[in-house]
């Protein structure tokens, strides 16, 4: 890790560490009702409270509302000398609420036509006909719950006006997005908005937009002439900072008796919340397997819950759980091996456009030894503990794209600085970018420094979402390094009267092909004295007419206590195809992180609401249960590491999201393998596990299964 010393020594400056002279602290008044109208609001008493400098309400900041549509919607804000004073003053804001009847049931919202958007329909072939002709049809209803991002660093910004320029220190996944969104919202020139994010404590998709905390801080800073920090508390983080929406998935698969899938159908209800977009829950069904007849419809239910936000492979995590469980139920019905079933229905060429590269078959091959372990594993079962293995495939985006730019600067000391106004969201980006530049320039890694995190000090860079940081920024950095290298070689050629084509840089030396010249880089660039070599690079386009996707498969091993419903995940083998791997250590930690976060989604995490009022019941981390280190299984990570020949000068795809996509289904399928119980709902709490076991028992006895 290029920045390990800074992180270890506590020198890395996160937004949470930003302390500006004279800085005030803001606190937000949030709606105690899931749905209400603010009939009157009066901040006068609050303004008189000790330490208070300013207050804003719905008329002052657009991100504040007088018709809160979810519990915790931001309504007003106060700036004070200390955060305690600001919070105390919130109690003095007089609000007259008119509570309205909240709608919390997503199915009911669909029935009433209360939708966030037009339903999304996707159809190819003739689904009905194929279903009628199928030898076997399996149907199932699957449900996934609301889970929360809970990054270590809560959502926060510090805003300061310097004349007509707004400086925003913010914890974000998209410096340039914040710049343009805030500029537009406030009606200022984008160049008058400077966004800084040096180190960042995680976002997982919830920090792509400015958020009310940024707008509130900007307005309070404008009114007070002082810098203002607005940082969400952990509880606010659990209320209103985004979530992975719940889904209800009613799925159908039709197949021939040899296992060929002939029809796939799905009705997906995304419980979007009061605002948000329809994540592609239908995506895996549309794209994972070869199938000519596919029909899906996805509804975005508008209900009185906090808006969803992108969360690590939004839609695909939920949709893969449903589809891959359904496929295993089909495999069980047909008595075919689940891995064979997936090979049989392999999508060799895309249903629309060719893949830039696809090595999923190779992933399946590499999964075999892990999959074989299930025979031995099952023999460990006794009357209480049942052992089994399950697998699930993964498909997702991750190709990145233009525009993205980087500069390189080579000083006369032969040291290289990579400059780009991107953000490192904690995924090891500084290291990966330094590696790419070092390799291209032929210098040791410790010669390269990466300067990022400031829109005023570097060119436009891409969002860190959609697994796009490395595939978007890596090629730009590589091109910038190549540009600098070309200039260095030009100088060396002139100096030594050699042709450029015989020169190269290797291990920090400019060398000639015949070996006669080996001159340290700093000797060549040292000739320049104060002059510098400046390289610039841009991310090229993605291959036209091709789909750039990532693939993989995971095999999970579990043990289930059939008397108490305890589920233990023992081992997960994750095999992913993401093109060229830049940093194997960074890559495997992304895989581990994705699997651990996915285990939370699968087994223990859920945001619970009071069904009458829509109040969030799980506001603190002792009620909202993230996995702990004791819940982490053995994780085996294998990456195919074949550069995508069609994709950029780097051949790398992203890896942030793929590992979380298949884990829930792999675990659920392992549970079926171990116990015969069909899991249909996440999280797999004791209650759900015992219900599924009881249903399996009833089914075996031939009685209708209790639902």
């Amino acid at each position: 890790m290029a920045d390990a010393p800074q992180r270890a020594r506590g020198e890395a400056q996160y937004t949470a560490d930003v302390l500006l002279p004279g800085m005030l602290h803001a606190a937000l008044l949030r709606s105690p009702h899931a749905y209400a109208r603010v009939k009157k609001i009066d901040v006068r008493r609050a303004l008189e409270a000790p330490g208070v400098h300013a207050a804003v309400g719905p008329e002052d900041v657009e991100a504040l509302t007088d018709e809160p549509g979810f519990f915790g919607a931001p309504v007003a804000a106060i700036a004070a000398n200390t955060v305690e004073q600001a919070r105390a003053a919130l109690e003095l804001i007089d609000v007259e609420w008119e509570p309205l009847e909240p709608l919390l049931d997503p199915d009911e919202a669909v029935r009433r036509g209360q939708l966030t958007d037009e339903p999304r329909r996707n159809e190819r072939g003739d689904f009905e006909r194929a279903l009628a002709d199928a030898d076997v049809v399996v149907e199932g209803e699957y449900r996934t719950q609301v889970v929360l991002h809970n990054p270590l660093e809560t959502h926060q910004s510090v805003c300061r006006w310097e004349g007509d320029t707004l400086e925003i220190y913010t914890s974000t996944q998209y410096i340039w997005g914040i710049r343009s969104r805030v500029a537009k919202q406030l009606g200022v020139e984008p160049d008058n908005v400077r966004v800084v994010c040096n180190y960042m404590g995680g976002g997982f998709g919830a920090k792509n937009d400015p958020g009310e905390y940024t707008y509130v801080a900007a307005e309070l800073a404008r009114r007070t002439g002082r810098p203002v920090k607005c940082a969400l508390t952990r509880r606010e983080e659990n209320l209103a900072a985004g979530n992975r929406n719940a889904t209800i998935q009613r799925l159908t698969v039709g197949a021939r008796s040899d296992g060929t899938i002939t029809a796939l159908g799905g009705e997906f209800v995304n419980a979007v919340g009061w605002d948000g977009w329809i994540a592609p829950t239908d995506g895996p069904m549309q794209t994972l397997y070869h199938c000519e007849n596919v029909r899906t419809v996805t509804y975005g239910a508008k209900i009185n819950t906090a808006p969803m936000k992108a969360f690590r492979a939004p839609g695909y995590v939920e949709g893969t759980f449903g589809l891959e469980c359904l496929l295993d139920e089909l495999a069980a019905r047909l008595d075919v091996d689940p891995l064979e079933l997936r090979r049989k229905n392999y999508a060799h060429s895309s249903n629309e456009r060719p893949y830039s590269s696809k090595n999923l078959m190779e992933c399946y091959r590499r999964a075999e030894p892990h999959w074989e372990r299930r025979h031995e594993l099952r023999t460990r079962s006794d009357s209480t503990w049942k052992y089994g293995a399950g697998l699930a495939s993964q498909i997702w985006y991750g190709g990145g794209g233009p525009p993205s730019y980087a500069w390189t600067r080579v000083g006369s000391d032969g040291r290289i600085t990579v400059i780009t106004a991107m953000q490192d969201i904690g995924t090891g980006t500084r290291t990966a970018m330094a590696q790419i530049a070092a390799e291209e320039l032929g210098v040791p890694l410790d010669r390269v420094r990466v300067e990022l995190g400031d829109s005023a000090r570097g060119p436009f860079a891409s969002i860190s979402a959609g697994s796009s940081t490395t595939p978007s920024m890596g090629p730009a950095v590589r091109a910038a390094a190549a540009d600098a290298k070309r200039q260095i070689i030009e100088i060396a050629a002139q100096r030594h009267h050699l042709e450029e084509r015989v020169l190269d840089i290797s291990d920090g030396n400019v060398v000639s092909a015949d070996g006669n010249l080996s001159s340290p880089l700093e000797e060549i660039v040292g000739l320049l004295e104060n002059a510098q070599i400046l390289g610039k690079g841009a991310r090229g386009p993605n291959p036209t007419g091709m789909q750039v996707l990532t693939f993989g498969v995971q095999v999970a091993e579990v043990a289930v206590d059939v008397e108490t419903g305890e589920v233990r995940v023992l081992r997960v083998a994750a095999i992913h195809d993401v093109g060229r791997v830049i940093n194997p250590l960074g890559a495997s930690s992304q895989v581990e992180g994705g699997i651990i976060q996915g285990i939370g989604h699968t087994l223990s995490e859920q945001r619970l609401l009071d069904p009458a009022t829509g109040t969030v019941l799980t506001q603190s981390l002792d009620a909202y249960r993230l996995p702990t280190i004791a819940d982490v299984p053995e994780i085996v990570c294998e990456l195919i590491d074949k550069p995508d020949e069609h994709l950029t000068n780097l051949g790398s795809k992203g890896l942030g999201e793929p590992p979380i996509v298949p884990i829930a289904a792999a675990i659920a399928n392992a549970i079926r393998d171990a116990t015969g119980a069909d899991i249909h709902s996440l999280p797999i709490t004791r209650e759900e596990m015992l219900r599924a076991l009881e249903a399996a028992k009833q089914k075996q006895r031939g009685a209708p299964a209790a639902v």
């Binding site: 008397e563 419903g565 009071d610 019941l617 009620a623 702990t628 819940d631 004791r686 015992l690």
Partner: protein, 280 residues
């Protein structure tokens, strides 16, 4: 808010009551104060007033869970109950006396809904989400007592010595009623000083959690065989720590729709615990 640090139990008792509240490790009381669930004019730090440490079968109420979980002289059931409770940080601060007096984790109560336990006139959990709630003693309040430690101490037949009396642990607790929401019988100015814990012939603590660590008990079952007699203590099943005389008592459970799943878990864990402490 004022902080007082008395150096003896007598002095502490003199300071307690009238909005003056005892503070031990603070792992429970500080969050309650911060969340506005408890109001105090002064905190009385009792750490110099209450014994701490283990002397044979006597445990000072100020002893931390971390100290108990590693002491080989402590019965297995209590060591395990401590080891499986909370997190290492919390166990390093949290005292056994404070553990016995922790408030319910019922989310409605923690969010200050005006329910029975806050002196109101209904149980929000019964009408709403009660996934983590009780299967016994849930007529009025349906909360589930979160203390693993109390379950273990019940099974061991623990006696308490307070500044006012000696009593069996079971008598420390009472089921809340519609007109009295108290869940303990401790007076405002009464301190727990010591616990007298008999040494059993065999004991065990089994805990169902929804993750491997740092989780309150869904169901915790403690069993101890003392002088040939087996006693059971359960956590997470009733508003107070709960005793069963036999596995058949589980037939008298009154689960709610959302807590019915706890019953098979309790059955399995009780059967296992009884097997584990059986003679021969």
């Amino acid at each position: 808010m004022e902080l007082r640090q008395p150096s003896s139990a007598e002095e502490a008792v003199g300071l307690l009551g009238n909005g003056h509240v005892a503070l031990a490790g603070g792992t429970e009381i500080v969050p309650l104060l911060r969340d506005g669930l408890l109001r105090a004019d002064a905190l009385i730090d009792i750490r110099r007033a209450v014994p701490r440490g283990i002397h044979g079968t006597t445990i000072g109420a100020g002893t931390t869970l971390a100290e108990l979980e590693v002491d080989p002289g402590i019965p297995v059931v209590l060591r395990e109950a401590c080891r499986l409770a909370a997190s290492p940080q919390l166990r390093a601060m949290g005292s056994i006396g404070g553990n016995l007096l922790q408030a319910t984790r019922c989310w409605y109560w923690r969010l200050d809904f005006p329910c029975y336990l806050h002196g109101g006139d209904r149980c929000h959990a019964k009408d709403g989400r009660h996934d983590e709630h009780a299967i016994f003693g849930n007529d009025v309040c349906a909360s589930a007592h979160p203390s693993d430690v109390a379950a273990a101490l019940l099974a061991l037949g623990t006696m308490l010595r307070t500044t006012a009396r000696e009593l069996p642990l079971a008598e420390l607790y009472r089921l809340p009623t519609t007109d009295d929401p108290q869940t303990t019988t401790l007076a405002d100015d009464e301190l727990i000083l010591e616990l007298e814990v008999p040494i059993p012939e065999a004991s065990v603590y089994l805990k169902a959690m929804d993750r491997q660590r740092w989780s309150f008990p869904i169901v915790g079952v403690a069993a101890a065989r003392t002088a040939g007699e087996v006693r059971l203590g359960l956590a997470g099943v009733a508003p107070v720590p709960w005793t069963l005389t036999s596995v058949d008592d589980l037939d008298r459970a009154t689960p709610l729709p959302g807590t019915a799943y706890k019953l098979p878990i309790a059955r399995a864990l009780v059967a296992r615990a009884l097997r584990a402490v059986a003679t021969g």
